[in-house]
Subunit: 326 residues, 3 copies
Amino acid sequence: MSTYAPQNPHLPFGDQRTAPWYGKSIVSVNQFSREDLTYIFAVAHEMREMVVRIGTFDLLKGKILANLFYEPSTRTSSSFTAAMERLGGSVIPINEVKYSSVSKGESLPDTIRSLECYADVVVLRHPQKGASALAARYARKPIINAGDGAGEHPTQALLDLFTIREELRQVDGLTVTMLGDLRYGRTVHSLARLLSLYNVKINYVSPEVVAMPREIIAELEAKGIPQAEYTALEACLPETDVLYVTRIQKERFENPEEYEQVKGAYVITPETLKAAKERMIVMHPLPRVGEISMDVDDDPRAAYFRQMEYGLYVRMALLAMVLGKA
Amino acid sequence: MSTYAPQNPHLPFGDQRTAPWYGKSIVSVNQFSREDLTYIFAVAHEMREMVVRIGTFDLLKGKILANLFYEPSTRTSSSFTAAMERLGGSVIPINEVKYSSVSKGESLPDTIRSLECYADVVVLRHPQKGASALAARYARKPIINAGDGAGEHPTQALLDLFTIREELRQVDGLTVTMLGDLRYGRTVHSLARLLSLYNVKINYVSPEVVAMPREIIAELEAKGIPQAEYTALEACLPETDVLYVTRIQKERFENPEEYEQVKGAYVITPETLKAAKERMIVMHPLPRVGEISMDVDDDPRAAYFRQMEYGLYVRMALLAMVLGKA
Amino acid sequence: MSTYAPQNPHLPFGDQRTAPWYGKSIVSVNQFSREDLTYIFAVAHEMREMVVRIGTFDLLKGKILANLFYEPSTRTSSSFTAAMERLGGSVIPINEVKYSSVSKGESLPDTIRSLECYADVVVLRHPQKGASALAARYARKPIINAGDGAGEHPTQALLDLFTIREELRQVDGLTVTMLGDLRYGRTVHSLARLLSLYNVKINYVSPEVVAMPREIIAELEAKGIPQAEYTALEACLPETDVLYVTRIQKERFENPEEYEQVKGAYVITPETLKAAKERMIVMHPLPRVGEISMDVDDDPRAAYFRQMEYGLYVRMALLAMVLGKA
């Protein structure tokens, strides 16, 4: 499991020190086994039920989260803040690191070792790949990776998978189709890796210039995951259980006209969905900018706003776990 | 009353679903009847008494406010934060929307539908007129307009009126004199509209170039409100019960010399107040930049800092109401 | 003691009005007697024990801190936020004053008098010397100076001294050696002044261009404090109990080569510490940028991260004191 157990664990007040995730950092999707995911999703599901029933509860009362964002990400930052507050904990919001003396030449390990004097857990968003692993190496308190540049964003991948589980009750046996920019989107890479722990089929639909990287396809092939590539959605839509849509950025194309030619083919409309299963779900990491028509929003298959909400439950679960309260 | 009742009300945990304001959005002063105001001010008055007696209480414990500011406004943002915290609730502060991916092309409805996954109520400050109404149309949770550009800032108008009520015990029968920039100040427009629900007389004192817009004067005339316009304060000051001062911005004048000529005539000093009633109150939406001399601050008629405090109580009342707890 | 007792004390709800620090502002190290320090450190020590035992407690439940930062300072701002939250209180974070209408021409007294309508205590960081004293003069609620430009940063000096007391059990009898930029660092100036209330010896080690100012040396001499100046650490290191390291900024030197020549002599390495006492402590106000090698971090004498933590306890103590709860 995790290789990020603290070297020198600082054991706070009254926590369940035997809890398996207590004090651990969440750095990469690679640290999770299928059993880990089952456990995380069971806790997240409980969180969901508690929020629906009573809204907020005091599981983490008295605990403090340092929400350390070196680059802005309103959605992720708000989601962690809400997760901590719904568990009765408090948040130190640190959003302006770039303007601040903390960043003026101070090393990330120093910043982390200062902040952990005040907080019980640190959520870290940083533009540099590997930043969270570095932070976790020096920290006595758990670090949760909220995105490290071209690296990973493991809580996004977890919430994506949790969405599938909650919406469709299972993951095994499903056909997941990923659509859009599969080359640069770290979201789809991490999700593909997590899905490879299950019995799934994965379709990739994208313009060639932004196709899924060869190494990821090879990695999943080695695990026996059936995969197929397409440049158009029509062929694989009817068999799809989960349609995961991402944005194609114009800047990825050398030739702007080429972009204009293809972009329409990757927009989801009510018309598109006519050929889809009735129980299919449409996901998107958001923000969307035209990839899914607003006319789709009222279709019960449109799961992307519910997906945001599942993110809350997953983050609540992770916070409770690493603080020894789940 | 409100036309902003949610289409698809999301009914959270244990709220009083029969409360008349439960789930409603606060978008415009036009949504309030006189009875509504009486109710809001009664709740706000109770909030005042509670704060004076015990400071803070747990009416909204477990509730979360997303304080979504697309443009900075320290005073309004702080006031809503304090209101939520004095009621035992929590706040997700979102102040950097402009730098954030949320704003990069994402539509306001999408941003709102994401944030309401985390929060129970959204306070929205946005530079665009109509933004709050748009947000309220899509939101399942209540939206409170904290200023939408050239549009409205209804909680400011409510706190202005509540200040008058608390300081002078009544609104009917009063003479309110508005001074300064009456053309571009949305504050005085909204206040004039709310005052038109009472039996008041309104005087407008301003340079001609920034006079009260004709359409507002016509609107109030149609409701039978006696109004009079002046370019100097002297003539109407003695009869005034409420002197509402606003700032005149140099930029409004084509000719800078013209500005220099007039500006002195609109500055309130202890000398000015000699001709005023002993029970008159001086109000100002703040910040002031010279319109009221600091020598006036110790005069008991100087109500502008108390006005800030009344704003706290009004915002506490509104939050409690739309969350079904008042 | 303090000359900052409020002129017009606003007495909130149920506080112990007889508490000696109730309602007082913390503006300058000059306001403290040795007895004051003894009291503050006794309270801070209690806070430390409480945090270690139970993490958080509700001493300031229902109290609100306005954390007003006109310039960013992640560390100080986070420390006060954590201090308030560990005591069960709430925080209004105000970090973007520079972008905001509050700053557009509004005077500091007006800003303070607005914010104190919402909060019970105001922590103020401001680029201008004397800003906190000005704020305290107008405020009805206590102001805590979190740094006023070239002026003071009294809570830093208090936490420095508290660190010495907690780490070495006493202050009397110690030899404190200050190293680095002693001319421009307000930290060492304030600490020297506080130390002058005890029986200590102080060594100053720095390049001549950034030597301790004559007036401070004279001030301490008048109080009978033995002092000595050096340009190299070797001579005084063996007798040192507290080594207080600060950063030397290249910009302070007229000649960049001169800087390159001297800087190495002021870097602390494991090699340096071989000549030091076994019970000596190394302190640094952080952030460091190379003045102390990371190899030193694992040495038990490296007290600089513990120093951050002591800052939390001192700020908890001060908040509790000025709110009448200690």
